[in-house]
């Protein structure tokens, strides 16, 4: 049986499909749109438009990079404020044209750095979350590998969140958790057991909606594409008010089971 830390390792694996590869399989006529139109273009967030089984969609994905040079430019999938502002811009553009948004997530977390702080990392994530929860078009997020902290949540505030079978979602890395709570970063494996960060645990906690089979090849990607298209069709049939009311319920109820007056 896999330990929780095995799942962490698989979520971080180099062999996992990349988000650019997934975009290429899922969409036809994809065109990447660059930049936040304020400060720059963060390669850690790829965004663009294309057709998903014939439907126009906007796609926003974190990118870890394929080569060392790419990975360094992408900060290994850690987005800067410019990346989150690009995501906000593309979400708003999707809303204008009434097309759904697909987010693909594989990030250890938001980029940490002095410049990122100066550029308002917290503000950029906060605004991305607020844009997501109130976006008047369907939005589905798929966690492909790691989904760490606010940097992942920023792209997971829509109507559905799905997880690959070998992926994780957590408030911070098991290493960070062990170092904060037990002052010992070496106890990451033990932390992983504690954190409920594996897909079945998160599904049981009601935080994600589905655990989907790990996509490793073209037929797997086609299957995912068909299911995403069907979900967008179903969500798209709801009047906007109803879509937003359902999303409201979804977020309103996070955590209330554990409360008492």
């Amino acid at each position: 049986m896999n330990s929780a830390y095995d799942v962490v390792r698989q979520a971080r694996s180099q062999d996992k499909v990349s988000t650019p590869w997934l975009i290429a399989q899922l969409l036809t006529h994809f065109h990447e749109l660059h930049g936040d139109q304020a400060q720059g273009d963060d390669p850690a967030i790829i965004g663009g438009v294309g057709l998903l089984v014939g439907q126009p969609v906007t796609v926003i994905a974190t990118n870890k990079g394929q080569t060392l040079a790419e990975s360094q430019a992408c900060h290994f999938g850690c987005a800067t404020p410019a990346g989150y502002r690009k995501a906000i811009r593309l979400m708003q553009q999707a809303a204008k044209f009434g097309r759904p948004v697909l987010n693909l997530i594989n990030t250890p977390g938001a980029f940490l750095g002095v410049d990122a702080e100066y550029q308002g990392q917290g503000q950029a994530i906060a605004q991305c979350i607020m844009t997501g929860v109130s976006l008047p078009v369907p939005m589905v997020s798929v966690i492909v590998g790691e989904a760490g902290s606010g940097g992942a949540l920023a792209l997971a505030c829509g109507d559905r969140t799905w997880m690959f079978a070998q992926s994780t979602y957590s408030v911070l890395s098991p290493e960070g958790y062990a170092s904060i709570l037990w002052r010992d970063g070496q106890r990451a494996a033990e932390a992983a057991e504690h954190m409920r960060l594996t897909p079945p645990e998160i599904l049981a906690d009601g935080i994600v909606d589905r655990v989907i089979p790990e996509v490793t090849d073209v037929p797997g990607a086609q299957q995912l594409g068909a299911e995403l298209a069907a979900t967008f069709t179903t969500l798209g049939e709801l009047p906007t008010q109803q879509l937003l009311a359902a999303r409201h319920e979804r977020y309103r109820n996070f955590g209330v089971d554990g409360l008492q007056e």
């Binding site: 979350i129 607020m130 606010g150 949540l153 309103r252 554990g258």
Partner: protein
């Protein structure tokens, strides 16, 4: 006793014991040492104006005419707290005299009715968990329902790690309540106080219509130590202080405690609802 007969260690220590503690204080920001009576009545350093961390009650006394607390008894069910976390919570309740890291309720500020929230770092560093998230969501929902402005004082170390993903989800949950309130055309003023960091900065602390900050308050996303240890850099001393955020465009104004009430009353007057004006 003469200089040829110096006091021994025990005599010195006996004399030291007669001096009351805390007569002299040191500012954690500018490190100046000052006599305790020099601290302003708003708890600010007489040299640099840094505001000492306040308890929620002290904050309320400074800003609100009156306060009717809401959801004060909301707690976690025993089923969701493991032993270590429950012990930590019990200790926090005992030492802080609060049930959670935020007080929420209805208040008046200079006669204007508001929904008011005050975070308190004395309770588990003001961290955001399920209870605080629910209280803040209810506060914004109540304000939306009654068409009230929200005034929120933030002070937090960020997400409450013990609650894992549920704590992360509170960022989205509160953000949604803020978005509903915003869509209703209502005013949200935040006052960033020392320290406001992590998941609180990355959600409702940075979603207000008007963002005020106290002098020298630390406001940031990633903690300084994490940046230092991960990147092996030494950021400038003030890189996450209110003045830097003002210069970089993320804070509307820095307002000293002595001016805050007047400032808030002006904002409430400027944004008051027309039907209230006709009453």
């Amino acid at each position: 006793m003469s200089k040829f007969n110096p006091s021994d260690r025990a005599q010195l220590s006996a004399r030291m014991d007669k001096i009351p503690d805390h007569l002299y204080m040191q500012c954690p920001y500018c490190h100046a040492v000052y006599y305790h009576a020099e601290l302003t009545r708003f708890g600010e350093c007489p040299h640099c104006g840094y505001g000492m961390r306040l308890r929620a009650q002290e904050r309320l006394a400074m800003v609100a005419d009156d306060f009717e607390q809401r959801d004060g008894d909301l707690t976690l069910t025993p089923a969701v707290t493991d032993g270590a976390y429950q012990q930590k919570l019990n200790r926090a309740v005992a030492s802080a005299g609060l049930h959670e890291s935020v007080w929420t309720g209805l208040a008046h500020i200079g006669g204007y009715a508001v929904a008011l929230g005050v975070m308190d770092t004395h309770f588990m560093m003001g961290s955001l968990g399920r209870v605080a998230g629910e209280k803040l969501s209810r506060l914004f929902a109540l304000a939306t329902d009654r068409r009230l402005p929200v005034v929120l004082y933030t002070a937090s170390g960020g997400a409450r790690m013990q609650e894992g993903l549920f704590s992360l989800m509170q960022m989205a949950k509160v953000a949604q309540a803020v978005a509903d309130h915003a869509r209703a055309g209502l005013l949200y003023v935040v006052v960033l106080t020392d320290p406001t960091t992590g998941g609180v900065t990355a959600s409702f602390a940075m979603e207000a219509d008007i963002t005020l900050a106290e002098p020298h308050a630390l406001v940031g996303f990633t903690g300084r130590r994490v940046i230092e240890q991960t990147l092996h850099v030494d950021p400038p001393q003030d890189f996450q202080r209110a003045e830097t955020l003002l210069r970089n465009g993320f804070v509307d104004a820095i307002v000293a405690r002595s001016d805050q009430k007047t400032y808030l009353v002006d904002l409430l007057r400027i944004h008051r609802e027309p039907e209230v004006a006709h009453e």
